[in-house]
Amino acid sequence: MIPQPLDASALAVFVFLFALVTVVGFVASRWRRADLDQLHEWGLGGRRFGTLVTWFLLGGDLYTAYTFVAVPALVYGAGALGFFALPYTVITYPFVFVVMPRLWSVSHKHGYITAADFVRGRFDSGALALAVAVTGILATMPYIALQLVGIQVVLGAMGIQGDLPLIIAFVILAAYTYQSGLRAPALIAVVKDAIIYVTVIAAVVVVPMKLGGYGRIFDAVPAPKLILAPQQQTAYATLALGSALALFLYPHSMTGVLSSSGRSVIRRNTAMLPAYSFLLGLIALLGYMAIAAGVDKSDAYKAGFAQYGTNFAVPALFLSAFPAWFVGFAFASIAIGALVPAAIMSIAAANLFTRNIYREFLRPKCSAKEESTVAKLASLVVKFGALAFIVLAPQKYAIQLQLLGGVWILQTFPAIVVGLYSRWLHRWGLLAGWFVGMALGTWMAATLGFKGSVYPLHLGGTTIPGYAALWALLVNLGVAAIVTSVLRAFDAPAGADHTACEDYGE
């Protein structure tokens, strides 16, 4: 691409903020000092995070840099459909309010560090736990890679070429995650959120002032894009519902939940986290602001759009609306916003590998020190795997895999969420349902050419377009129930439940 002019003041602000969070990341190892050779200290921050830290941590974790780039990009390209992120975040918290305190209680009681640990204890099945762990790792890896896309886009927009800056940023990230564990992203999240809030508030005040108000912005959007077409409505609702149910099945969300210090911390946060949803809604509107500002018509941004597609909409808007030094500030908020979730995701994937693969199958008698060492190394492998993927493979593969990841992760719903309430489903029934759900979901995505996840379901004479993950989950639950009925009729051994009713805290 033709390089954007490299602006010194933008770069200076960007580098300063990046250096600041690097220091914070290393200092974090001394925060609430404890023995980081214990996995629950390194990987869950000792389960001691209170309401406010959990709020920052989960906010930084769930509302990722990629979200902040991709959601407005989707709104910019597809209009109203891209707004499904809003109802999605509205309904996810009532769900979390009811379900996650149960998971926290049982995990606290038994020392579970991952959701797969819980499944192992509840259903007495290493194979089912392995399925849950592998699904979690598979869904997380491309998600980490996409955080890098967020950094890549803003580096490119500042005129920085080549992969070296990206690699440097990631090496730094890997070093402080290795040293400080979950404490690093928790502390960095506080800095990150402060600059993201400033950026977004500035954007939603300054940009509409320049463009002549919100009325003008919406007037600039082509009318058909403003609301949903009739055939988009079920897609919109199922995308929102499926994503909402899937969000807290992701290993990095689990890590955020399990690191909190109590059930009330989780419950309070479900009422406080919508502040980020509000921010996300405003960010989604940046997509329309980019349309109104006419960034696609400007020659200056042609190269950027050619290279990054609609993901360039928000960087282009910032470049066109803000003075150079503030562009550096805004871009730093996106880049640092990528570091927090990337760190938590790599820790979560490392916890899964260590607990549910390494200790379960390779070294059942390993010491606590060995366990935490393996987790630290695994977090490095996961991060550099994601880095290699994004540097070597075309970006679109990461995007497609992340899309698939959402379809896959929802297939762990029966074992984890249904499992929290009932032990009726048989472990082999759950495994069969999981397998069919994974295969069917992947097949549906394949028929869509891995370009989207809205699958038109043909039922009788009608066609219902809906989120493939949700269709696959329905079949998954059906298979699990049928296989369970058959297994129960033959008295197949259901295994021992290592948890008791009162462990769930209600």
Binding site: L86, P87, Y93, V98, Q233, A271
Partner: protein, 73 residues
């Protein structure tokens, strides 16, 4: 007295949880809000309605939280 409180706390929470279904109905039934008019300060209905639900959703979870508050062990 103690037993009565115990019983109250055991029975009430589930009923309060029904309130948590309200945001699902409000946001997942698209025909409720799939229109441009009425606008609010230039913003089409589709958008301000869903923004409003962020606040309503948070208020409902806060309400249920306070109504079912549990003592930490």
């Amino acid at each position: 007295m103690g037993d009565e409180n115990q019983e109250k706390r055991g029975r009430n929470p589930r009923w309060w949880h029904i309130l948590l279904l309200v945001p699902f109905v409000g946001t997942l039934w698209v025909p409720f809000y799939n229109s441009v008019e009425p606008r609010l300060g230039g913003v089409p209905y589709f958008y301000w309605y869903q923004f409003l639900w962020i606040a309503i959703g948070a208020a409902i979870t806060a309400l249920v939280y306070f109504a079912t508050r549990e003592r930490e062990p």
